[in-house]
Symmetry: C2
Subunit: 602 residues, 2 copies
Amino acid sequence: MSNNNVFLGDKYYSREHLDFLLFDVLKADTIIKYDYFSDHDKEALQMYIDATDQFAKEYLFPYVVEMDRKQPELVDGRIRVHQIHKNIMRVSGENGWISVSAAKEVGGLQMPSVFSTAASFILGAANYSGCVFVGLTMGAAHLIEVFADKKYHNLYLPKMFSGEWQGTMALTEPGAGSSLSDVVTTAEKLEDGSYKISGQKIFISCGDSDAVDNVVHLLLARVKGAPAGTKGISMFIVPRERINDNGVLVGNDVISAGVYHKMGYKGAPIAHLIFGENDNCRGALVGEENKGLSYMFQMMNEARISVGLHAASISSAAYYASLKYANERLQGRKTTEKNPELPQTAIINHADIKRLLLFQKTFVEGSLCLELQCSYYADMERVSDGNEKEKYNTLLELLTPVAKSYPAEMSNFSTSAAIQIFGGYGFTKDFIAEQYYRETRIHAIHEGTTAIHGLDLLGRKVAMNNGKAVQYLMQEIMQTVGYAKQYENTKENALVLEKKLEQLHSLTLHLMGVSQKEGIEAYLSDATLYLELFGILVLGWQWLKMTNTCNKSTTLDNEFKESKFLCCNYFFEYEIPKTEGLFTRLQSEKRVTVNVDAALID
Amino acid sequence: MSNNNVFLGDKYYSREHLDFLLFDVLKADTIIKYDYFSDHDKEALQMYIDATDQFAKEYLFPYVVEMDRKQPELVDGRIRVHQIHKNIMRVSGENGWISVSAAKEVGGLQMPSVFSTAASFILGAANYSGCVFVGLTMGAAHLIEVFADKKYHNLYLPKMFSGEWQGTMALTEPGAGSSLSDVVTTAEKLEDGSYKISGQKIFISCGDSDAVDNVVHLLLARVKGAPAGTKGISMFIVPRERINDNGVLVGNDVISAGVYHKMGYKGAPIAHLIFGENDNCRGALVGEENKGLSYMFQMMNEARISVGLHAASISSAAYYASLKYANERLQGRKTTEKNPELPQTAIINHADIKRLLLFQKTFVEGSLCLELQCSYYADMERVSDGNEKEKYNTLLELLTPVAKSYPAEMSNFSTSAAIQIFGGYGFTKDFIAEQYYRETRIHAIHEGTTAIHGLDLLGRKVAMNNGKAVQYLMQEIMQTVGYAKQYENTKENALVLEKKLEQLHSLTLHLMGVSQKEGIEAYLSDATLYLELFGILVLGWQWLKMTNTCNKSTTLDNEFKESKFLCCNYFFEYEIPKTEGLFTRLQSEKRVTVNVDAALID
């Protein structure tokens, strides 16, 4: 184990819990009854998870500390990364994992995405920086598969699926971060139908590295003369090296201008790229001009689920490290025991340590349940039609900002709780907790900051189709609540959640009123808090769903069930009450951040 | 400015706010009417703050990034630190700042501690790692001054006050962190009256460095044959080098075994020390045998105020950096503005950014007010007698865990909010926010973890003298509330706080009942949450007090007042409601973390 003698623990996720979610809670394997997924059987799905587990153990976890200590550097125009990345990409390619969710007609395996999401969780828990190369390539390939002309499939997909070429999404610019409508990179159509690209992109994950032979950017740019704002943005395939007429790779005038040095997540190279500085950068239009942003949202939505998933996966690793320590570390005695001559007790026996552990565990397991639920909706959307399809699409749209942001924000607290359990050691580099704390801080920022997702949820999703999305969600949750009400051991929590949902409904109506009376700015001023509130309730739903499954199951182990009931009770006792203050604030008529002179904040 | 081209901003604290607290809110200068402090006048106190400001600018702030990048290393048995530390210590010594609060009879200036606390805030905001050498030396010297035999005063204090010798507190051992009663370092009395010391101490801040000529440890050890537990702990002065009979410094068998590599706060060396490995380490008893812990608590209480203060000071620096950026960075448009052809707006104009800024500002300014209030109580305790003295002592005892832990915990969120304002840049090392986020994470750990302070507050302070401490506090707060009720612009917040205090009273009674019915473990199981709740209300009190001062004042600038009212309203609208969920949880009869099998947390 080349992890520099850092205390890591030996477990970073629970296979038992993952299987419980996949096969008991979601019954995700039943999806193979649909034609599209019918090549798979339950055994094959399990083998895929087994193989991922083994791969993570061998290629990812052993390098998690090393990647943090040796960050990528720009050397002679190329970004040098840890060389295990090359193996990770190639082995993933060889095993068909990069194309696992792609369609058969482009060489994929048509695996339900709920299983590739589960696999991605394992990889992220083992080593987040180590798994993003593959994830981004999958996402970029998916865009090419769905939106690009077929002639580009053969040109790009095989090399991406084999792990030889990297895929990226190239959106952000110095003047266009949260405000994508301000993208200024230009594209000028040439006689041969290709486009001449010119501009700068920043914060491009895996934007360049010596682990791959080429990088394929799915890039947003503005065709000359296009309308201002989001309506004038097009998408292009812009490779780092393009294939010339002789079938040979030649430079495409994409320059790596810099690599960011970051507080964490250091194993992944984040690049500053300059396109077309020598007037010789060519891109291929994806789909139609000016529709780029809508295409990109497909990849962004997948990427957003992935961000939430990996906030939870990093927190999972931090949780298991701190759990191991809590069981081993002797310190103090029970509060009822005053005799200092008795031996000290393991700190897991202290109530506050149990609280810190249950906080992490319920966050990690509940969030994973939510992310898998979202992927399951994506799969169901694919295989269903008409109203059914619209329902799943709508649910996914509504839940995406929540599934991205709730775990992203909470993972900061969860990994912080892990540090706290280690005490002074937690602040040192001899223990892994501090690294996880640094790594996960990116998640509330990339793929849209939390504020952006608050605006998305309250400003767009809640109101879309006259509130249809929320109606669908309430139906889903009430189904869970209805079942839970039938059992003594879940009834009370079910009633609490039911009441909270009613409050949420009233709150939303109240806010609509604010919108009419005071305008959009007041309406959206606390959208971030609305998102937080929404997230807590959605997690409560996950926990109720899990305990329902425990009540239904005749095969699950009793201790396993008991553990889930404990978690659910923790969540309803300690986390759900946090909604109270949020309700109070969101219902208040007092505007503090609207119509106030910014100069007073000094 | 040798700060490696990192974006820092040019301001790290508000002198205007500090002066407001000192001279308007606390009227701390009136304390010079008491004999003990009568050597000072208001002008001299202001000059001291001016000089500190200038010193911070020159000797601390320019090195804040450098200290993070070049951490201390153990080389040939000595810990090498940034060489500016030597200048910081010597200049502080020359200017009389290390002895500023000490008694005149030992060479001090008898400055009110509320002013040295204010000075310490400035230093910590400029560069936290840079100011701890001085702070620890002041604390250690204070212990010697108060508890050690006079013969040790001359031996140690002049060299410590001059900044040539470092002072430390050496408590923690591998088996005794939170559980101090398990200290096993031994002391054996020798014929000459000195003690032979043997043992290991870990996490000793400034425990060794090449910035000073000697290190004076105030060390806890157990005299052979002493009772087990806290009742058998004695305190010793153990220098790294002792003065031999010829007046020459010779080695005292104190070995630097290691220096910790940490996630932040890297400029300060944290040492692992071995005492008496060659049977040749000598210590001098402080006061009487077996009373060491009670002596140490004096220093720890001062140190705890200092921890809270510096959590706020780091957050202050992060706040001003993010404020500067928020005013400069253009991104997006107002939610009411759809036209993408209009120029982008500074992000401070977005409601969510204002929220993130007000969160930081109210936390920083409110916490500073609390820390100064505590120091003021300490000063008043010194100059008063009888009941009055007991009252100030009791208030200080009660508020210490709150003044330590509320800022320590909240500073993690506050510095995180600063990162969030910087967006993707906030995650990079090109901007200072990430460093502050890493630095401040230590504060919830050192000088007692948050859990320990929860136990201290609920298990000791709230109940002591039949609840006398809480009574005193309520009197103080109700005086503030009473005044605030008279003004339209503070009345509503006053009524909210009054109601919350009643709830807190009921809650405390409820918990006393739990203690009787279910025992001490159930009573203390959520002590950390009780502490959090208590902290929010105490901060609310600070804000109400500040707005009272604004209403009273005829000299303060109107815009300045308006800013304080905005802050107070923010705090009551966004922070006070967080108590609701805490009340709910703390009043619940359901035990989740007590009497539960730890094996279920897996």
